[in-house]
């Protein structure tokens, strides 16, 4: 259950997170690694690791080196370091991202994971699914489904107190996964 009564049509991020966690509870393997895609997915993976039962190692992935728009857009500034503090080969992994759109970031993240080893399984958890897929990729767990105009980006922000909030911005160009 999420509220969608805001003027921009977006759900409250905290409500969507609670919904996402409810769907994952009991379905996700108790030892699954939660791998957040920078930066929004990283915050969500940390939160989910605290909420979900079991011991979930948290990893971080920056897909900049695997993006398919590098030859058009170049390398963006401030690429973060991918950190996977567990053996990827033979592990069960849940990729976590804030907004699922074209599916291209997820494709890049899956490619990167396989350069670390062969996981037993990869699932996908997203805070919001806005549709608009350009690749055959579907999420395993979804917090909320939304519909916004194509020229707008949905951005997850984290306040100083840790509270998460979704906003829409005019297309920034560099992102969109």
């Amino acid at each position: 259950m999420t509220t969608t009564d805001r003027r921009d049509g977006l759900p409250e991020a905290e409500g969507a997170l609670a919904e996402l966690a409810a769907r994952m509870r009991g379905a996700v393997a108790v030892d699954a690694g939660l791998v957040g895609i920078y930066s929004g997915g990283a915050w969500l993976a940390e939160r989910l690791a605290k909420i979900l039962p079991g011991e979930h190692p948290v990893g971080y992935i920056d897909v900049s080196f695997y993006r398919d728009d590098y030859s058009k857009k170049g390398l963006r500034a401030n690429v973060a370091t991918t950190t996977l503090p567990f053996e990827v080969g033979g592990s069960r992994i849940v990729l976590v991202d804030d907004v699922l759109y074209t599916g291209r970031s997820v494709r890049a993240a899956i490619n990167e994971l396989f350069d670390y080893g062969r996981p037993d399984s990869i699932e996908l958890a997203v805070l919001v699914d806005r549709g608009g897929r350009e690749l055959p990729i579907e999420p395993t767990y979804v917090g909320a489904r939304v519909s916004v105009a194509r020229n707008l980006s949905i951005v997850l922000n984290r306040h100083l107190d840790g509270r998460l909030e979704l906003t829409v911005e005019a297309e920034r160009g560099a992102q969109g996964g």
Binding site: D62, F65, Y70, K73, G74, L75, V79, T81, T82, D115
Partner: protein, 322 residues
Amino acid sequence: MRKVANPQLNDKGELTHLLTLEGLPGEVIGRILDTAVPFVSIAERDVKKVPLLRGKTVFNLFFENSTRTRTTFEIAAKRLSADVINLNIGVSSTSKGETLLDTIDNLVAMNADMFVVRHGESGAPHLIARHLSAAGRPGIHVINAGDGRHQHPTQGLLDLFTIRHYKRDFGGLTVAIVGDLLHSRVARSLIHGLTTLGTPEVRAIGPQTLLPAAVESLGVHVYHDMAQGLRGADVIVMLRLQSERMKGALLPSPGEYFKHYGLTQDKLALAKPDAIVMHPGPMNRGVEIDSAVADGKHSVILPQVTFGIAVRMAVMSMLAGT
């Protein structure tokens, strides 16, 4: 005032060639160092490769021998998934009379995407970059891997990366560069980088005969007495005594040199207790550096080599993305 065109930057201000650290804006240097950070960990993975330069062809053009620099560029390009061709031109075309730019044109006709150039003449990489620009080939990039006595920008960048890795920040640092600055393009690149990033105290230590006449104009304090110059240093950069570049008798003997300018444990003790010792390699043990120091706990000489690959990957992927 009209902006002076910097041949390294495109009209959007992005780095498109890396020719020199002189005049390169601090934010561009900072961005290269930042970008190198995530490349360091790629060496620790199962698959030590990322697909950024897949399908690109990188030519290592070495008109002067340098096994180490060529190898690190080759590894960097391969870890970016590029195809790498090594050409030791000193022993091929030019000996048959082909000019530098004819060589370049031939390689462009083979669909080269990037040239890594080491040349004995200062300015050779600039010449190639200008030639490519005049030929309307903005998609082909040039990296200077050392030109004459001029610059060796990726070595300067890896030195800066190493210093930042261990010391976090350049503000407040005292950096002492010791030895043969006269023949050292490494020193020249590093000094430009250090001053651009706001290092308050850069020192040049060496005999009069091995310091360039105008080194003080680069913002460097000169010391002929090593003990004085090392006092309170956070970073000590030892330079190789480039005996193969020495023409005329600039030095009495290697033994005499070591006595005055070789880094020993005793001299190192004059620097800060947490000082780091760097050397661009290859080292002459017992000439500019004592083995006990080279292998000691202050030495970061081998991490420099590892970081050098990450820095070169960062430069290549930034250039190829423009």
